[in-house]
Symmetry: C2
Subunit: 343 residues, 2 copies
C-alpha cells in the first residue's frame, strides 16, 4: 500500500459530508493494528453508509484495507501504555493519540476512540480540547451491568484521584445527561459511600451529600438524588448514576472486575474437575460475555468539547467494535450537545 | 430462669481459670439472641473444655441454657444498628456492647464478639481499651478469599475514613502480625492503589508508598512491601496483606460482596430457567459458602489492648460460630501478645 497516497487521500478530502466520521487509534494497546482494523471493517456494513472511519497509526503498522469508507492518517510516534502520561503528551505531539485529539479539535472527526494509555488520553483531551462551560474537571464515565434492565453509569473512574463537592455535582450532571441519551427519562443519582446515613464518609463526601441534595429542590418532581449508595448496592439496578472521586471509582471498578473474574474462574475450575455437562460452558460464556468489560462500550472522557472514548482493557477487536457502536449511538443522539445545555 | 441467680453466678465466680473466656454480645443484630446462643452451645463441645462463654444481653432476651461452661451477664440497654455510634456509646454505658468492652478491659473476658453497630463497637473499643503502644489509630481487619490457598487480610475496612501515610504503615505491621498468626512465615504487604506505578494515587497514598518501601530496607531478606496493588489483583493470592484507608477499604469490601452476590444470583437464575441438573445446586452452594462472608470469621478491631471481633453482616448463627472459632484460635496463638511486640 502506498502510504503517501493514502495520506494524501485523507488530507485532500473535501470538508466531510453530512454523516459522521470517527477516528480510531490503532496504536498503543496489546492488540495488533491489523486485527483491530479488520474487526472494524467487518462491522462497517452494519452501520449507516454516512459513517466514515479514519484509522490512525504509524506507516509500518497501518493495514492495507482499501475501502471507500475507511481513511488513514499516518502518525510518526506512538505513546505506549507504560509511559508517564503528562511527559508523553508533552513530548509526543506527533503520536497517533495526540494527533487524533487534534483532528477532533479541528472537527475533522466527530469522535475519537483509543485503547491506549488512559492517562495520556485524558491529558491530551484536556490539552487539545476546550472544557465544557460549567465543568471544572474531566471525568471518566463507565457503564456496569446491574440486576435490573438498565446499566449504571459510574463516574469518575480514574481521571482525577481527588474530587471536591462541586466536582461531584458536575459529575452528577454529566451522568444524568448520559443516561438521558440512553433513553432513561428521569435518571437518579447516588453518591458512593461507606454507609447510607447522611453523616457518613470523608468531609468532602459529606459536603457533596449536602450539595447533591439541592438536586431535589423541586418538590413537584421525583427526587433525583437518592442519597448514599454502598458498594454492594450499586448493582441492584435501583440507581442510574453513581458519582465518586477518581481514586475510589477506579478501585471500585477494578474490584468489580477482579471479583467477577475470580468467581467465574473458580466455577469453571469446579466444572472441569467434575466433568460437568457441556451445555454449562455456554451458560458461563454467557455470564462472561455479560460481565466482561469487552462487551461494554468502554469509558467516555466527559467534560471536554469533543467525544472521546477509551476502549476498555487490552483493546481486543470485540471491545473496539463495541466502542465504535457506542460512539456512533452517542453522535446520533447528540450526547455532546445535550451535555452542553445541561450546564 | 432466675436471672438474679444467673447474674450472681457470673459476678460471684472466682477469678477465671487457666483457660479462656469469650464474651458474646447477643444484642443489636438481626438474629434472635436465643438462636445465636443455641448455635454457640452446639459448637462448645467441639472446643477445648478450658473455654468458657459469657453471653451478654437484656434480661428479657437472655436464653435459659443451663450449661457449666456458659455464663450470663445481664445488660440494661441495647445499642441498635441505626444509632449514631458516638452518641450511642456516650449515652448507653449500660448497653451489652459497652459492658462487654468494660469486661474485656477488666480482663474478666479474654475476647469480645459482637454483631452489633460497627461504629459503636469501634468507638467503645477506643473509649474503654487502651491503644497499643506505637499505634495511633484503630483499624478494622477482614479476610477475603483468593485464587491461592491463603486468604488476604485487608485493613482498614472502615474504622477511619481517612488515613495518613504513617497510619497505613501501622496497618501494615498489624496485618503482618495477623498473617503470621495464620502460619504465614513471611507475609507480604501491598498498597491498594489505582495503578502499579510508584507515582499513582492521592498525595497521601504516594507518601505511603515511600514509607512502606522502607519495609524492604534489609537487602538480605525477601521484600515485604510488593508495591501498589490494583483492585482486580487483590484476589490473585500473590499478596498476604492489603493496606488502605477506611473509606476505600470499605468501598472495596462491599463492592466485592455486591458483585459476588450479583453474579451468583444471575447464575442461579439461569440454572433455574434451564432446569439444570440438581447436582449443580451443590456446586453453587459450595461457591456461596466459599464466598459468603458468614463463612468468614468476621472483622478484627486492631490496635487496642483487647481482642474485639465484629461478627459479619446480619450476625446469623453460622457467622457467630465462625467468629468464636477464630477468636479462640487468635487467643491460643497469642495474637495480641505478638501484635504488641511488633511495634
Amino acid at each position: 500500500v502506498n502510504f503517501e497516497e493514502i495520506f494524501e487521500d485523507y488530507t485532500m478530502k473535501e470538508a466531510k459530508n453530512s454523516g459522521f466520521r470517527i477516528g480510531i487509534d490503532l496504536m498503543g494497546c496489546d492488540a495488533q493494528p491489523t486485527q483491530i482494523a479488520l474487526a472494524i471493517a467487518e462491522l462497517l456494513p452494519s452501520l449507516p453508509p454516512s459513517l466514515d472511519i479514519v484509522f490512525l497509526g504509524t506507516s509500518t503498522s497501518l493495514p492495507a484495507l482499501p475501502h471507500p469508507r475507511i481513511h488513514y492518517f499516518v502518525a510518526e510516534e506512538v505513546i505506549t501504555m507504560d509511559e508517564d502520561p503528562l511527559y508523553a503528551v508533552r513530548r509526543k505531539k506527533n503520536s497517533s493519540l495526540y494527533q487524533g485529539m487534534q483532528m477532533l479539535q479541528r472537527k475533522e472527526i466527530d469522535a475519537f476512540i483509543s485503547a491506549g494509555n488512559t492517562g495520556a488520553l485524558i491529558a491530551s483531551a484536556n490539552l487539545a480540547l476546550s472544557r465544557l462551560r460549567g465543568v471544572d474537571r474531566t471525568a471518566l464515565l463507565t457503564l456496569l451491568p446491574t440486576k435490573g434492565s438498565q446499566s449504571v453509569a459510574v463516574l469518575d473512574v480514574g481521571a482525577n484521584p481527588a474530587a471536591k463537592a462541586q466536582h461531584l455535582l458536575q459529575y452528577a450532571a454529566m451522568g444524568i445527561s448520559f443516561q438521558k441519551s440512553c433513553s432513561i427519562a428521569h435518571p437518579t443519582v447516588g453518591l458512593l459511600n461507606i454507609g447510607e446515613e447522611a453523616g457518613k464518609g470523608t468531609p468532602e463526601v459529606r459536603e457533596a451529600y449536602q450539595q447533591l441534595s439541592e438536586l431535589n429542590k423541586d418538590p413537584s418532581a421525583p427526587p433525583v438524588f437518592i442519597g448514599n449508595v454502598e458498594g454492594r448496592d450499586v448493582f441492584n439496578g435501583h440507581v442510574d448514576v453513581i458519582v465518586t472521586d477518581g481514586f475510589t471509582g477506579n478501585i471500585f471498578l477494578k474490584t468489580a472486575e477482579g471479583i467477577a473474574s475470580f468467581i467465574l474462574s473458580q466455577i469453571e475450575k469446579t466444572l472441569v474437575e467434575h466433568k460437568t455437562a457441556h451445555h454449562l460452558s455456554d451458560l458461563l460464556m454467557g455470564m462472561r460475555k455479560r460481565l466482561h468489560y469487552a462487551e461494554y462500550p468502554g469509558a467516555i472522557v466527559c467534560g471536554v468539547d469533543g467525544l472521546v472514548m477509551k476502549c476498555h482493557g487490552d483493546g481486543n477487536p470485540a471491545a473496539f467494535r463495541e466502542s465504535l457502536k457506542e460512539a456512533f449511538r452517542l453522535l446520533e443522539n447528540g450526547f455532546l450537545q445535550k451535555l452542553k445545555v445541561a450546564f
